[in-house]
């Protein structure tokens, strides 16, 4: 029997490390652990950013913003929810804060109370074999307000209350936008 077994694990994050361990290490300033946190979650964060803003370059910027914000606010994460849940919510908030800043910069105020006001800005959906339409393309072609609520409700699984809190719209507006998004998708499906 060997007297001592040398270790095979060093400072690098182990594949067996749980999110909780990695986050605790990152909270202590361990950037190697934070890099592993990034690697594990970047796909989900990027996906929600991309679906909300539609542009790949902008989604990449916002993904980076989200992880920078995450690093800055790691100390506020207390483990009351799964880390992923906390991070994705933070990412959604980053997207909407950026959107609000952009709109202020353009000095253009659009109210989301009436979904019809944001009807334009639709691109023709890309067709694909099988379903008849490219789903991602069809979702991307939805008007902004409808798209945001659809992505958050139907894909990300947030409730209308949560969406209202994150986006600043009323719960009723969120429901109306969802109904509208589904109607528009149905029209595209039937087209």
């Amino acid at each position: 029997m060997p007297a001592a077994v040398p270790r095979d694990s060093g400072r690098a994050a182990s594949v067996a490390d749980s999110d909780a361990l990695l986050v605790r290490r990152a909270q202590g300033g361990d950037d190697v652990a934070f890099a592993e946190v990034y690697r594990r979650h970047v796909g989900r964060v990027y996906a929600v950013c991309l679906r909300l803003v539609r542009e790949r370059g902008r989604a990449e910027e916002l993904t980076q913003d989200a992880f920078v914000r995450c690093w800055e606010r790691l100390g506020q994460y207390r483990g009351e929810s799964a880390f992923g849940t906390w991070l994705y919510r933070l990412a959604v908030n980053v997207v909407f804060e950026a959107g609000r800043k952009d709109r202020r910069r353009q000095d253009r105020i659009v109210t989301l109370a009436d979904p019809a006001l944001v009807e334009p800005e639709r691109d023709p959906p890309v067709r694909a074999a099988g379903l008849g339409i490219d789903l991602e393309g069809a979702i991307a072609a939805l008007p902004r307000g409808a798209r945001e609520v659809f992505v958050l409700f139907d894909i990300e699984g947030y409730s209308h209350d949560e969406i209202a809190e994150m986006t600043g719209i009323a719960v009723g507006t969120s429901k109306a936008q969802l109904f509208r998004a589904r109607r528009l998708l149905r029209e595209q499906l039937g087209a």
Binding site: R7, Q64, V68, L189
Partner: protein, 340 residues
């Protein structure tokens, strides 16, 4: 979810169904991490450059924080820092509000909804799960020792081997540079599962070395059983349990040899030392057939329990087990990530 009245046509339901199957994860086409890392470092540099007065202030703050952390983690001799994670853990006879210290001799108790984190001096941390009772036995630089009466702990230690120990009713878990979970039930029986590195479990000279991905059962008065890898066949597990804890004897050994695969070399290697000498040759033959020994390791040497030969054999077995577990973990993660 209730669909609006007009949304019940099959075509639209099909669409929603397909939406539900869209990937939740999309990998960006380029690696965004370098940009993030760059921004994090630039923020620090910019803030230092533009606000010169922040430098001494930050230095003072860092000093205070460092002193605070040192004080929190281990500044007080004979005690470790402890942090409430959830619920109302009890240290000694007082509820832990936020953070505090556990002193040598103190018990930390968690109820069904409480969790706590113990800083193991400066070398690691132990998360105490709900329904557990843990005592700090020794808090010296050369010996960090807890006793787990019952419950579950998850330990992670970043230090040279044999500095951190956890006593249980069935023996002692000895850190060899690792992370692991250890569960002990009310009868004192336990299960140790290793998530990084290696752990040795010892009771009255009976030792099991548990590598990454493997686990070992323990029993009071009997010590550790034979470690098994995560995907060990049920027949092998049953045979080893019978051999370890139910006096299964030669019959259990034969069943174990039949059920073992090459991936179970860790188990067979441990079996070499524990079987009767009359059975050792059969165990070696089966092990050598599944996992050929390195040069210099002979049947006679193992039959004599030559420590150098056993160690040489173990080195190649543990290396293969470690590599296999890493690849298995990566494969499992990639296969289940839903990325595209």
């Amino acid at each position: 979810m209730t669909l609006p009245p007009r949304d019940d046509d099959p075509q639209f339901r099909d669409l929603l169904d397909r939406v539900g199957k869209l990937p939740r994860s999309i990998e960006p086409e380029r690696d965004l991490w370098p940009g993030i890392k760059d921004r994090l470092s630039k923020r620090e540099v910019r803030s230092a450059k533009w606000q010169w007065w922040v430098v001494p202030l930050a230095a003072a703050a860092v000093l205070v924080v460092a002193i605070g952390i040192r004080s929190w983690r281990g500044g007080e001799a004979g005690s470790w820092a402890v942090l409430r994670l959830a619920g109302r853990p009890v240290v000694g006879d007082a509820h832990l509000a936020g953070s505090g210290r556990i002193r040598v001799g103190d018990w930390l108790t968690t109820d069904d909804s409480s969790r706590a984190m113990i800083a193991v001096g400066d070398i690691g941390e132990v998360e105490v799960q709900p329904g557990s009772r843990v005592r700090l036995v020794q808090a010296r630089a050369t010996e960090h020792r807890l006793a787990l009466d019952h419950g579950v702990i998850a330990a992670k230690v970043d230090a040279p081997p044999r500095l951190f120990f956890v006593d249980t009713h069935a023996g002692t878990a000895i850190d060899l540079g690792c992370a692991y979970t250890l569960a002990v039930d009310s009868a004192g029986s336990g299960l140790l599962r290793v998530t990084a590195g290696y752990v040795e479990f010892q009771w009255q000279g009976r030792r099991s070395i548990v590598p990454l991905g493997a686990s070992v059962a323990t029993r009071p008065g009997m010590g550790p059983g034979i470690p098994v890898v995560a995907d060990a066949p049920a027949a092998l597990r049953a045979a080893l349990a019978s051999f370890d804890f139910a006096a299964g004897g030669a019959t259990a050994v034969r069943r174990a040899l039949t059920a073992a695969r090459a991936e179970d070399a860790v188990s067979l290697w441990h079996l070499l030392e524990r079987v009767d000498p009359a059975q050792r040759a059969a165990v070696f033959d089966r092990l050598a057939n599944l996992f050929p020994p390195p040069a210099g390791v002979t049947r006679d040497g193992v039959q004599r329990l030559d420590s150098a030969q056993l160690e040489a054999y173990w080195k190649v077995i543990k290396r293969a087990a470690w590599r296999r577990e890493i690849l298995r973990s990566i494969g499992k993660r990639d296969g289940g990530s839903g990325t595209r």
